[in-house]
Symmetry: D2
Subunit: 426 residues, 4 copies
Amino acid sequence: MLSESRIQDLNQPLLEEHQLQFNFLTDLLARRQVDAGQVVQQLIDFQVAIPSWALGTGGTRFGRFPLGGEPRNLEEKINDVGLLHQLNGSSNSISLHIPWDIPQDIAGLQQQLSEQKLVIDSVNSNTFQDQKDQHYSYKFGSLSNTEAGARQQAIQHNIDCIRHGQALNAKTLTVWLADGSNFPGQQHLRRAYLRTQESLAAIYEAMPSDWNMLIEYKPYEPNFYSTVIPDWGTSYSLCQSLGKNANVLVDLGHHLPNTNIEQIVGRLQQFGRLGGFHFNGSMYGDDDLTTGSTKPFQLFLIFNELVDAARDQTVTNPTVAYMIDASHNVKDPLEDLLQSVENILSAYAKALLVDRTALYEAQEKNDVVRAEEIMRDAFLLDVRPLVAEAYRRAGGALRPVAAYRAAGIREQLIQQRGKLSLSTGL
Amino acid sequence: MLSESRIQDLNQPLLEEHQLQFNFLTDLLARRQVDAGQVVQQLIDFQVAIPSWALGTGGTRFGRFPLGGEPRNLEEKINDVGLLHQLNGSSNSISLHIPWDIPQDIAGLQQQLSEQKLVIDSVNSNTFQDQKDQHYSYKFGSLSNTEAGARQQAIQHNIDCIRHGQALNAKTLTVWLADGSNFPGQQHLRRAYLRTQESLAAIYEAMPSDWNMLIEYKPYEPNFYSTVIPDWGTSYSLCQSLGKNANVLVDLGHHLPNTNIEQIVGRLQQFGRLGGFHFNGSMYGDDDLTTGSTKPFQLFLIFNELVDAARDQTVTNPTVAYMIDASHNVKDPLEDLLQSVENILSAYAKALLVDRTALYEAQEKNDVVRAEEIMRDAFLLDVRPLVAEAYRRAGGALRPVAAYRAAGIREQLIQQRGKLSLSTGL
Amino acid sequence: MLSESRIQDLNQPLLEEHQLQFNFLTDLLARRQVDAGQVVQQLIDFQVAIPSWALGTGGTRFGRFPLGGEPRNLEEKINDVGLLHQLNGSSNSISLHIPWDIPQDIAGLQQQLSEQKLVIDSVNSNTFQDQKDQHYSYKFGSLSNTEAGARQQAIQHNIDCIRHGQALNAKTLTVWLADGSNFPGQQHLRRAYLRTQESLAAIYEAMPSDWNMLIEYKPYEPNFYSTVIPDWGTSYSLCQSLGKNANVLVDLGHHLPNTNIEQIVGRLQQFGRLGGFHFNGSMYGDDDLTTGSTKPFQLFLIFNELVDAARDQTVTNPTVAYMIDASHNVKDPLEDLLQSVENILSAYAKALLVDRTALYEAQEKNDVVRAEEIMRDAFLLDVRPLVAEAYRRAGGALRPVAAYRAAGIREQLIQQRGKLSLSTGL
Amino acid sequence: MLSESRIQDLNQPLLEEHQLQFNFLTDLLARRQVDAGQVVQQLIDFQVAIPSWALGTGGTRFGRFPLGGEPRNLEEKINDVGLLHQLNGSSNSISLHIPWDIPQDIAGLQQQLSEQKLVIDSVNSNTFQDQKDQHYSYKFGSLSNTEAGARQQAIQHNIDCIRHGQALNAKTLTVWLADGSNFPGQQHLRRAYLRTQESLAAIYEAMPSDWNMLIEYKPYEPNFYSTVIPDWGTSYSLCQSLGKNANVLVDLGHHLPNTNIEQIVGRLQQFGRLGGFHFNGSMYGDDDLTTGSTKPFQLFLIFNELVDAARDQTVTNPTVAYMIDASHNVKDPLEDLLQSVENILSAYAKALLVDRTALYEAQEKNDVVRAEEIMRDAFLLDVRPLVAEAYRRAGGALRPVAAYRAAGIREQLIQQRGKLSLSTGL
């Protein structure tokens, strides 16, 4: 949809200003013994997966306002992610949502992925909705259901997900469980946990040894009294019981008010159990806004924990899977995803710039003001020139959202797919 | 669907135990100089409106699991409310939701209402979803929209609602505005307020002088950065600017964590601006659970404010409209509504039993323990015999949910309306 | 201070009404195949420890308003608890707070305890304040301090606490750690955890094998960015690393807004790691109000988990230590403690009355309404006659607060100890 | 304590780097048609008041760890503020706390203030603690107390505060009321409001016509069930009843979780009722941390509302009083205050840089992404060179905290005032 040269053309008028700012920042960092080029390289290497369900307009229980041109099948979804990756060079993978993204033409899909320089990142099972031909309902739970048949059906669905993922070389199964209860007494809390544990063990058992299972937690919604896996502690206990290939997935919106999420991230890394991230933004609950849009400082602090652990030899955490999981109710989904990736890269860049030697020294001496100033010094720097340079070096656009608009992509998508096209999946 | 004699038959086996308990409680209260009969009469007089949208299975953005037999039109909705009213004698009114409940056969509806001893309580406008033939979209707001045309369309819809309500002798328009923004900067906060105020004034202007406008507030959802009317203070300021027939509606789920809702109720009564209630239950947000199911003590404290103000000559609050506004995701909606009414009546009964003379005396003397014990003494009493007696005297069932089940009503509804019938409205 | 006969005299005028209500409830329960006498016996057997620091008037950082007659030393504290135990027969133990309650005259104390039928329940270390002669400050933490000397001092203090407890036959050390940070960057989150773990291991090592260590968690206050042990998951991970005699202590006020505490209680029992409770009441944070005063339904749901687990053979949780941990800012501390115990016993009684066989059946069938009604049926019963009967059979007062007032105890305490006596400890 | 030339000396080695960065930013802004010099001038003109109680080490109910050298009387407090003002040129005023800061030597104080280029900003009454010689206790409230004598005493105290303020040319009385209740039933909510309203009216009556009364709100602490003035709506209603010289004070820490504070600020300006600010930082409650330390984006959004309203001719809000109200538990109070002012100036600078013309256009067109990007563009700019330049031009230090440390001020203060000096006031 976009040729490389078209992107270069769009960059052209911005280049001079960019170069000016990037050079100035490079010099400024050099005076602090920081190599801007190295930071840019780390940004280039950083990749975030795009979930297939985030390519269409999202909504709430109160309504949905689609904008048109949404991808109608897996091939179109891959195209959209490929487009994002062209623009920012940082979205090289896609998370599937089964049953909507069951791959049919495997060879064709593999060729398409290869052409667009994409990989399949993970497969997400869905046992929180009933599909048309489904025998047992998930109204009262899936892996924790009191009926053995319903549990078995949900287990099988997860195993099917693995199979679909294998066809496209994915290596990760992400499990989010909506199971829980709305009223005190509805569910026997301990038994629901035990049934879930047993179901997860059956899936884990069936999982190839080079696969990973990521277990999400969420305190509420769609259940409003209890959920079976409400907090990191519960996820962690389940992972401990399953084995080393089961790890915790942190979704930024899945926490109670005022939770210190960066500390949870730190704890899980310390325990070697941080498996992945779902990035989004939250002010009140699982708001699923653009990540970094409401609490940019928090996003920086989370990346600070990630960078800090990555540099610590004593931390033996597995590779962390980074995914976006947002809902785009009032923005063009593709613009929202470009913004999300930019916010993530900015936070990462700032975390890379923290002067850790000085920080550790200040921490050891309990020099609170100094330690804080070191952190803020990194946060307050305007790192946009570094991020733009990373885009540019990867062949992308200096300003992805502006390029997307200038290239008239949404208009083309609407023309191709129609004003009323609806993306499948949540 | 239920004959009076059928209800009597269902009561028969429970009567002896009921009489035993009611008599014991009557004597116990008499020893405290409280007339149980008077309390029962106040319970009989108390009526709660049932919203038309609560008669079908609710859901969340993650899914919906209907149970069948849902009412397919206004006539069937009225039938369902009539059934509830037969069972508990406390649900004599129904709140309409436009555009789903636009009355067609006015004369027929009036006759049906009269036969089932029901009235239309209020009309609820809906400008948070787009209807098929709608010219302007509400994606970016309705009464606060930046486009004059969209605002005018929303104003006209509200005026139409009044017209539909007049046809069935309603006197109340309830306005809940989903308008707001998801991101900082999206909406100019002051201008959005001013546009809303202007739109509300146009509706108020068009409203007959014997009508009331109820203005709801809600801090978030479906918008997750700001809403135009987030809190009681904003509702109150709008009502002040509109006139005396505009008053604040308190929905129990529309508050930030840890809000002292009973105090807001007290304040609004003091200012003469408490217009109505939407009862539901909440643990995390606008969970829309059965009212009283999660925080029964809070419901009691709210009724305590209502009863206290009702007995205070200096309080000149208008008549308060009581409505249920819950979503029934995992329960049979009609059972949920019967439970809701029972919880409301229980809370009311307990509030009626507070020894106010002793309480005021303890409050004046700052005898904290004594004041608290007086409140708890009322709360801890088991008032179910009083509520059951109120049902019985009104011709209803001693145990409405049990009677509903014993009479096999859901099975009949499914047979009549089908397993896949879907209730219209949210 | 109170003779047994004085208590009997105070009970006399209330006996007839009590008997009437108790008999009625006994009959009512008998018709449901429940033996009221057995429930009463279980209430008699239930004992809650009183913390030494709760016997004086509490306060906030904004001020403190003492009421006089506060205990000035350990002997007077024991006397106050003995008095409570006389009144309600349910407070047979006392939690010490070191350094304020260091026992001096061991033989004398043991005799006093024996005469008042009391035991020492647990010893609470304090490393969140600096004592006068202390070498290292805890301003920047104790067990997690960056300075080895400060950590060693805090470790030694805990070991000293064990020694003091041994002198009086206590078997439990309770550790609440205020350690944490106020600003991002102040503390290296992983290193702070590791230092804490190491310090706790040193204490655990020094602990006699028949002792238990209880580890509290708390998300914030007195530190407002992070605490080293913010949540049950962190406490749990520490207990796992220490050994089977280290278990988690749940303080009801130490949770983020909207936390489902009863589920945490259930989880910890399932993992065999629930060590103890600190009962208090909370509406906004660690408010330290009378337990059960703000959320009586929650307290019932917590006891429901405790009773349910106690009856489940597959649950192998250690004996749970029940303690009150409240602050009495506007009430007479002794009255507050009597109320607290009563609220606890009421919640326990209701939990004992849940029809578990019917509940499990409803849960298995996902009959949500039925399951909820079974729970509510127990909660709504007025169990005060059972609690009063338990008091009576244990030789206590039918209405402990009223008896305390009628006996003029506070006035006597003020006369003995002075209007300005200040209780030591927090 | 610091000579002007000493500050210049400290600036010397930093000047070249500063100039480089400032010039670059000036050019960058010029390319966007923004005059950096004008922004710097607006920063110079912006002044924040320092509260006398923030000059000593703060604490929590769990303890306090003073660092020494704290000011022992009003003269020393003025000296400390003068020192801050020398360093940053932005703290030209001081808020008094009565009874601790009752001025004695009026002429001497006036001369001292004049020499240090300071003014007295406002007077803060204190009716939440009992002073030694006080007749009535505030244990159960002050302006809302049930006892007329206690109310009269609190009214008189406020009138005294005005008198003390007049002696030093202050024009503002700030009222924060701790009044409220800890338990349901303790306080009659409506009557408590009415008593408070009456008491405030008496103070308002006694206030000179060129004075302003600022009324704070706070949802909880030190009372944990209700407070008499819990939210902006209540403050606002009181101000409406008092008159145009009574306005609402917003303290950033006095809100329930997840409150959109910037919207409240916008509303109050719209109603012409925003009287002042208490700046601090909050993650969980009234944490009283350095303002901007936890939620820098929120602080920017608040200033965005302030700047937006200031440029809107239709907004007729009175002059807003800016004050810091933080507690410095683990930092040197003076360093904390320097940081606070810097964070405030940074947020203000960013708000000044928002391209409002473009923003309004994007808002009108509901171009959500564009509107957000305009806001973020301002927020992400590194404005520290502008703030440093404002310091420099006002004769202050380029880096106030570093200068404060380099000049060894705390060491001097400890030498002068002693290691154990304790600041008076909270």
